[in-house]
């Protein structure tokens, strides 16, 4: 069952690579939050109940509800146009994301470690690289933020792989999530939205040598 959820997670990455509208990205993030909720619920059976409830709350309340709602508000509030404006055509993106997934599968097959759950490893790593790819190929600052959130999700999956032995690491991951999201989204994205209209990375190119 965990595997099915994780594979669905990998499929959302492919969908993200061809999504055109910002709203689709937000919906994918919501869906990913719920998938992570499922994976956490099934996977972390050996840790104490309060901790588990905390982690589950983080996935549902924070990842699947609060952050997407906030992103939505930011888009409406700043009147950001609805198109993601990638630098590359969607078809190329799709091929690159597929390649990323294939390469991580090949890489994980070369690892001989019985302690490793390969599905977790493949999905986490390909999510990480997809996030980096989205950051580097989209023009809007808000899509950079979404790319970062995708990276966070990847890291969360990776932390679940060791979660039963070291629940502390999952908690740290949650801290990272909340810290970075609040810092990036809350304080500065609001500010950037107020100062610049329709934030575009090209408007942040004045500091250079």
């Amino acid at each position: 069952m965990t595997d099915i959820l994780l594979i669905m997670f990998a499929m959302t990455l492919l969908y993200m690579s061809i999504a055109n509208r910002l709203l689709t990205y937000i919906r994918i993030l919501v869906f990913q939050g719920f998938l992570l909720f499922g994976v956490t619920f099934l996977e972390l059976s050996h840790i104490n109940v309060t901790n588990l409830v905390l982690i589950l709350l983080e996935t549902v309340v924070f990842k699947a509800l609060a952050v997407p709602l906030f992103l939505n508000r930011v888009i409406k509030h700043n009147g950001i146009t609805r198109v993601a404006e990638p630098f590359l055509p969607n078809f190329v993106s799709l091929i690159i994301i597929t390649l990323i997934i294939v390469i991580t599968i090949v890489l994980s097959n070369s690892i001989k470690d019985i302690n490793l759950d390969k599905t977790f490893f493949v999905v986490a790593l390909s999510t990480l690289f997809t996030g980096l790819y989205i950051i580097s190929t989209r023009r809007k600052i808000i899509t950079h933020v979404m790319g970062y959130l995708v990276i966070e999700n990847g890291v969360f999956i990776l932390s679940l792989a060791v979660g039963n032995e070291m629940p502390m690491l999952v908690n740290l991951g949650i801290m990272l999530d909340i810290f970075a999201s609040v810092l990036i989204l809350g304080v500065f994205f609001n500010k950037i939205g107020d100062v610049l209209n329709d934030p575009d990375v090209n408007q942040l190119r004045n500091l250079k040598d």
Binding site: I111, N115, I151, E152, S159, M166, F179, V187, F188
Partner: protein, 475 residues
């Protein structure tokens, strides 16, 4: 004493933020500086004691903590001068000092942390405080700087976290669940080398954002440029040391395993590229503050070269990082006064500084000599030892190219500094130039003198601490 220091320092920061009275504000700042100094000295008398389970005052931590408290005092003084000359509102003054003290506290705690996750948490806190300082002026350029800094630091902090996760995977085999540096060192033989490689790659890349090496150095440059100069001084000295501590403590574990040569190659490549990038920018840069920031990149590259070369290079690396923390802030502090004279950072608008502020001009000249490691400078000793270690470890080509690049850096640095000091500016209204007291340069002289003293006549205690730090690596 850290159980006393942390809550005390946090309390001071909170009070600074909420307080509106000038006198109370400055009293708190003075009290904080003394508090930090007391803490550092107290810890240095309790070497290798473990506190709260997560903090250990070992040689490296104490050495850098003492450096931190020595740099903090002038930084807060120049922060006071900065606020006084900028006519700040009560709120922004409170926020500035609260962020400064919180940043220094987090850096100090991270130095002493003996647990990789605790180090990581304090590194996060430094990002938060630094972003407040960078955005001090609330301009669009500052916003751009802070956005880049926050975004790149968030990604690099995520990288460090991924590294920690891989480290825990590599520990799974050993059956150890403790991630403290001591426990890792004890169980190094059972670490899975494959996962350890991954862990090293991610942790190293993540910490380069703070240390200022290729690939994540970019954010730091904008940060040092846009933050007020006293904060920039902290960013380019003690905050960079924090990145070094993170990498060095993990490197000490990697150095015991079979992947050491591989890790050294990674460090060598990153360090060499950093010096190269610094050279490219330093030879054509026109913004004085950014030039200082790139000079820090060059020095950190040298430090990492020494670390990777091994032998005497490790000792030299630690000496270099301490001396650099005295030299670079003095340049930033002096720049604050340069800016008050010319109201510009561009090399095209400045000149003839000797005429307007003699004491400051001499401080700048001495700072230049120190920073480029010309003989009376303390950095000369450590750089010489780094080159010696490169020679001994047969990295002759790297040594040769680095020497060439350093010569170009001296040329680029020198041509800008001499333009600032001696060439008359094109157009300047001399009536508007404020009179700057020579006393404001006193701290720069003291810092530069400390660097010379520590290099040529190191006290026994200093040598002992440095050797203690070197001994973290297997001999």
């Amino acid at each position: 004493m850290i159980s006393l220091f942390l809550p005390g320092a946090i309390l001071i920061s909170v009070l600074l933020y909420f307080n509106k009275s000038k006198i109370v504000n400055y009293t708190l700042v003075v009290f904080y500086a003394l508090f930090l100094l007391t803490f550092a000295v107290y810890q240095s008398f309790h070497l290798n004691s473990i506190e709260l389970g997560y903090f250990k005052s070992d040689g490296l931590g104490i050495l850098l903590l003492l450096t931190l408290s020595a740099v903090t005092i002038p930084a807060l003084f120049h922060g006071y001068r900065y606020i006084a000359t900028h006519d700040e509102s009560k709120k922004s003054r409170g926020l500035f000092f609260a962020a400064m003290t919180m940043l220094i506290t987090a850096i100090g705690a991270a130095y002493l942390s003996n647990h990789i996750a605790v180090t990581w948490i304090f590194v996060e806190i430094t990002t938060l405080c630094a972003s407040v300082l960078i955005y001090h002026h609330r301009t669009t350029a500052a916003l751009e700087g802070v956005w880049k800094y926050v975004f790149i630091c968030a990604i690099s902090i995520t990288f460090v976290f991924i590294g920690i996760l891989f480290l825990s995977l590599s520990l799974k085999q050993a059956g150890v669940e403790d991630l403290s540096f001591d426990a890792l060192e004890k169980n190094y033989a059972q670490l899975n080398p494959f996962w350890l490689k991954f862990a090293f790659l991610f942790i190293f890349t993540g910490f380069t954002a703070k240390l200022g090496l290729v690939p994540m150095y970019t954010a730091g440059i904008d940060a040092k440029d846009k933050a007020p100069a006293p904060a920039g001084a902290l960013f380019s000295s003690v905050l960079m040391n924090l990145g070094f501590v993170g990498i060095y403590r993990f490197y000490a574990i990697v150095a015991r395993t079979e992947i050491l040569p591989w890790a050294n190659t990674i460090i060598l490549i990153a360090a060499f590229l950093s010096i190269f990038v610094a050279t490219v920018y330093m030879t054509r840069i026109k913004n004085i503050k950014r030039m200082f920031a790139y000079s820090s990149i060059e020095h950190m590259g040298l430090v990492m070269l020494g670390l990777a070369a091994g032998g005497i290079g490790v000792y030299a690396a630690i000496l270099h990082i301490v001396l650099h923390s005295f030299v670079k802030p003095s340049l930033f502090f002096q720049f604050n006064q340069v800016y008050r004279v010319y109201q510009s950072k561009s090399i095209y608008d400045v000149g003839n500084y000797f005429k307007y502020n003699k004491a400051g001009a001499i401080a700048l000249l001495l700072g230049f000599i120190s920073c480029t490691a010309m003989p009376p400078s303390g950095l000369f000793v450590s750089e010489f030892m780094i080159f010696q270690s490169l020679f001994e470890s047969h990295h002759l080509i790297i040594l040769f190219v680095v020497l060439l690049l350093l010569t170009m850096i001296i040329w680029g640095f020198g041509s800008n500094i001499f333009k600032l000091l001696f060439t008359p500016p094109i157009s300047i209204d001399e009536t508007k130039i404020p009179k700057i007291s020579a006393w404001e340069s006193a701290s720069q002289y003291i810092l530069l003198a400390i660097a010379v003293y520590l290099a040529y006549n190191p006290p026994a205690q200093f040598v002992h601490l440095t050797k203690d730090a070197v001994n973290l690596l297997p001999q």
